[in-house]
């Protein structure tokens, strides 16, 4: 079974469901060392996106573009531009792609990552969503480079994302609101790394469900 890009808009609706379901959990995580609104911000943006998507859901490229633009225009904060850029760059990467095969998927998440690195100015180890995103993208690329099947590469990505997310617990925040806490930011998970993990897990599971 293959997954045409034009029929993969459901990935974005799945993301909306997953983020909205995690709303309170993400805010709770943010509450420990941030300002406790990460779930609120994310759910607001993803809900706005659901309205903008309409039905039937457009193709994946259009859906990701709508998600990116909605986040950019609708939620502000740091997540608006960061995840907005993330999804917009993912959308752009699908230019001319017909199938969401492993190669296209890999290009897509790499483009998203590069966008975030570019505008955010943070790096892995700073206790941000990059600590989830960077190892996850690298794991996926490593798996496909090693010739592992698409589904296995997705599993590797998910596992790396979770590990990355959990690795933030031990870190001291170097950017964002929590950074003012210095040592006091240690011992708690980063909220953005948790939402990023939800996003990557959901993408992996939803893609995997269609590619057997």
């Amino acid at each position: 079974m293959t997954l045409p890009v034009s029929a993969a808009g459901f990935l974005v609706t799945d993301l909306v469901k997953a983020i909205v379901a995690e709303r309170d959990h993400l805010s709770d995580i943010d509450g420990a060392i941030g300002d406790g609104d990460h779930g609120i911000n994310m759910a607001k943006g993803f809900n706005l996106c659901a309205q903008a998507l309409g039905s039937p859901t457009p193709g994946l490229k259009e859906s990701l573009g709508i998600l990116g633009n909605t986040l950019m225009a609708g939620i502000g904060g740091s997540m608006g531009p960061l995840y907005g850029t993330f999804f917009n760059e993912m959308a752009d990467s699908l230019d001319g792609a017909a199938e969401l095969d492993a190669a296209a998927f890999g290009r897509m998440i790499r483009a998203g990552l590069d966008g975030v690195l570019d505008i955010g100015g943070a790096k892995p180890g700073d206790k941000t969503l990059l600590d989830t995103l960077v190892p996850a993208v690298e794991a996926f690329e490593a798996a496909t480079a090693a010739g592992k099947p698409y589904r296995v590469a997705l599993d590797d990505m998910t596992e790396a994302a979770r590990k990355g997310r959990d690795s933030t617990v031990a870190m001291i925040a170097k950017v964002g609101r929590a950074s003012r806490l210095g040592e006091r930011s240690r011992g708690v998970m980063d909220a953005g790394s948790a939402s990023c993990c939800v996003i990557l897990e959901t993408l992996a599971a939803s893609v995997a469900s269609k590619i057997d």
Partner: protein, 333 residues
């Protein structure tokens, strides 16, 4: 949570509505959370630089209270403690931006830097001259260490005042921006929180402090401070904070300075007067010559009890801009 609101989802719009209704000379850009001077056209036709600031809401009277002749041209209001979107900032820039250009005054937070920065890029690509000044006056965070730099807090209001007066005096964009940078670089601020604050959508305080605990170097979004300590007499609190600021900003005996004594939101006026007295005393003890001192709610954190102190070295030029008239409702005259 007991708040004088209608609905947690409507606080920002209701706040803007109340402000427009109760302050003369303001209007709202249709469909946007952007407050502008009603006499916008006069600013434009006078060829003056327009000033845009803003950020998350919850810091009232910042920033809409500083919109008026001699201060800001527009204020962009995000959700509570959340930077306004790139699109909202862009709408403000487009509304006020003429050939004289636009200065963006931004407090140093990731979201604000990103959204104002992206909007500035887009506006420039549309031909509007835009400069951006990022204020990072919170000296409670030591620089040069592992953290990503300082945040912008109440000292930002002095940047609005000086830059606004310079723009009203007809200075060109580069000179207005240079003055804004001078104030932003010069001013140092630090806060002490007695309580946390409650974001309406969250419904409960961001953290809790025992009845004998306070936070030094608290953020203006209810972020915990850099150090938790025991409650102390206000004289000790103010002198700790003042010394930190004076030291960090290199303010020495004989220097001329202005002080801004800021209510973080829920501090009663009696206590603010006492804090002001202690701030004057601390400056005196350092040998500073306090040229001006303003006390009140300038940049708040919702219902947080506590204060922040800002100090800025001044000369006659800066004093002139600080003393210049403004119609902005939240600037004391």
């Amino acid at each position: 949570m007991k708040k004088l609101i209608n609905d947690v989802g409507a606080v920002v719009d209701d706040m803007i509505d109340g402000l427009i209704r109760s302050v003369d000379g303001l209007s709202r850009i249709e469909g946007e959370r952007v407050i502008v001077r009603r006499d916008l056209e006069a600013v434009r036709s006078a060829g003056q630089v327009a000033l845009v600031s803003g950020g998350g809401s919850g810091h009232e009277p910042a920033h809409a209270g500083y919109v008026g002749a001699g201060m800001l041209t527009a204020a962009v209001c995000g959700d509570v403690f959340t930077s306004p979107s790139t699109d909202a900032v862009l709408a403000a820039i487009r509304a006020v931006g003429g050939p004289a250009g636009v200065l963006l005054i931004v407090k140093s937070y990731t979201g604000d830097r990103l959204n104002f920065g992206l909007a500035a890029e887009i506006a420039r690509s549309e031909g509007i001259p835009v400069e951006m000044v990022v204020v990072a006056d919170d000296v409670s965070l030591a620089t040069g260490t592992s953290n990503a730099g300082r945040r912008g807090i109440a000292g930002t209001v002095l940047v609005h005042k000086v830059a606004g007066a310079a723009a009203a005096a007809g200075l060109p964009l580069d000179r207005v921006a240079a003055l804004a940078r001078r104030v932003g670089d010069g001013v140092g601020s630090m806060g002490v929180g007695l309580t946390a604050c409650t974001v309406p959508a969250a419904g409960r305080p961001s953290f809790s402090l025992a009845d004998d605990e306070i936070e030094f170097g608290l953020g203006i979004h209810g972020e915990a401070g850099v150090r938790r300590d025991r409650m102390q007499p206000v004289g000790a609190l103010v002198s700790t904070v003042a010394e930190r600021i004076f030291e960090d900003r290199g303010l020495l005996a004989g220097d001329r300075a202005v002080l801004l004594v800021n209510n973080l939101g829920a501090t009663p006026a009696m206590e603010m007067a006492i804090v002001a007295g202690e701030a004057a005393r601390a400056a005196e003890a350092r040998g500073l010559c306090v040229e001006r001192m303003w006390t009140g709610a300038f940049l708040t954190a919702l219902d947080m009890a506590g204060f922040s102190l800002s100090a800025l070295a001044v000369d006659d030029e800066l004093l002139g801009y600080l003393d210049a008239p403004t119609t902005a409702s939240a600037w004391p005259t």
